[in-house]
Symmetry: C2
Subunit: 216 residues, 2 copies
């Protein structure tokens, strides 16, 4: 039995479509009445675990799920020992430094040393500012990071930007990009090595999709 960890939220619909194209039908998880966190596939060969974004690499790293779909941003932030298999292309967004539009800062290096930067992604932010050689105090927030500059708890934020609407609505502007993020298919390394064909079949169907979408 293959277990697949799927992230609730923005990536779920496209994740289900990708797996459906690879022969595993988890459409039951999209039913708004579904309250179950462990949902069998239509064929009965697999099951999906419905978990939070950040928990996908945990279940895959411990081998409780052999495969998972998760944003590259989460993989960069949490650095769990999972194998990155395929860039699925959907869920595109970018990790960016943003400041108040009125601040006048044009790039991250303009920020004053030892200023405060709020983020949910403090590991990524630490790496970025260390590379810049700019010492900043990171303030870890768990949500609504755009409140940071509005309340004065931080001068800048590091956050995911998709359409940019949240930034605009809050008078913020992105001034520098850390990296682009898309959804990734990840796997449990040991399960992949010990696989007797079950996972390979699914992965081949995924790679076929990838090839077709590149050709289109």
């Amino acid at each position: 039995m293959i277990t697949v960890a799927l992230a609730k939220g923005a990536l779920l619909k496209d994740s289900v479509t990708s797996f459906a194209n690879a022969g595993l039908d988890f459409t039951a998880v999209l039913d708004p009445d579904n309250r179950q966190l462990m949902v069998p596939s239509k064929c009965g060969r697999a099951r999906a675990l419905l978990v939070r974004n950040g928990d996908v690499p945990v279940y895959v790293a411990y081998g409780q799920a052999q495969l998972g779909v998760v944003g590259y941003d989460v993989l960069r932030e949490h650095q769990m020992p999972v194998a990155q298999l395929i860039d699925l292309g959907f869920g595109g967004c970018r990790m960016a430094v943003a400041v108040k539009e009125s601040s006048g800062y044009k790039r991250a290096a303009d920020l004053p040393p030892h200023c405060r930067v709020a983020s949910k992604f403090t590991h990524c932010a630490r790496e970025f500012f260390d590379d810049l050689d700019l010492p900043v105090e990171l303030v870890h927030l768990t949500g609504s990071v755009e409140l940071g500059p509005m309340t004065g708890v931080a001068e800048a934020i590091v956050d995911l930007v998709a359409t940019g609407r949240t930034l605009r609505e809050n008078g913020l502007v992105a001034i520098e990009e850390l990296f682009q993020s898309t959804a990734r298919l990840v796997g449990h390394p040991l399960s992949l090595r010990l696989d007797r064909g079950e996972l390979r079949t699914v992965l081949e169907d995924f790679r076929l999709q990838e090839k077709n979408s590149v050709e289109l």
Copy 2:
């Protein structure tokens, strides 16, 4: 202007009632159509920041909010430098160790050394198992911790239990309590010391409520 950090979610309604009784009316935040994260009180003397549970002590510790309402569980987990002012009594729950009912474990000390324990509250869990002198491997999850024992990623969990319904629905049973939790009014220490009467008035009204509810 007083700024108050309120946690979205289960504590919000009672938090608003408490502040209303203390003379600050934030009922606008309960409007399901409200999308704003910064909401003025009816009287205009104060504003509420609507943030995630875990972010309340951050805004209060940095002084961007002078007061906040947050569960004791969050205060124990994150250990931010905020002043605990009043136990508001609502939002009661307990932090507990739970295992599969079928496991036969009757207390935390029955767990095998080096077993895995899943939790959102890994700091609290670490403290508890260190006190027990029982070495365990903590698995940090961000949601749906009850999936831990179901999937086999962990033998036990440390999680908040309110009614116990989630545990029962997942075949789990609480075997030991770490501590009781209720909502707490917290304050920014420096703002409290520098206060010229504005905060004192609100706090006196809160203490009056506390007194009345004890007398009832």
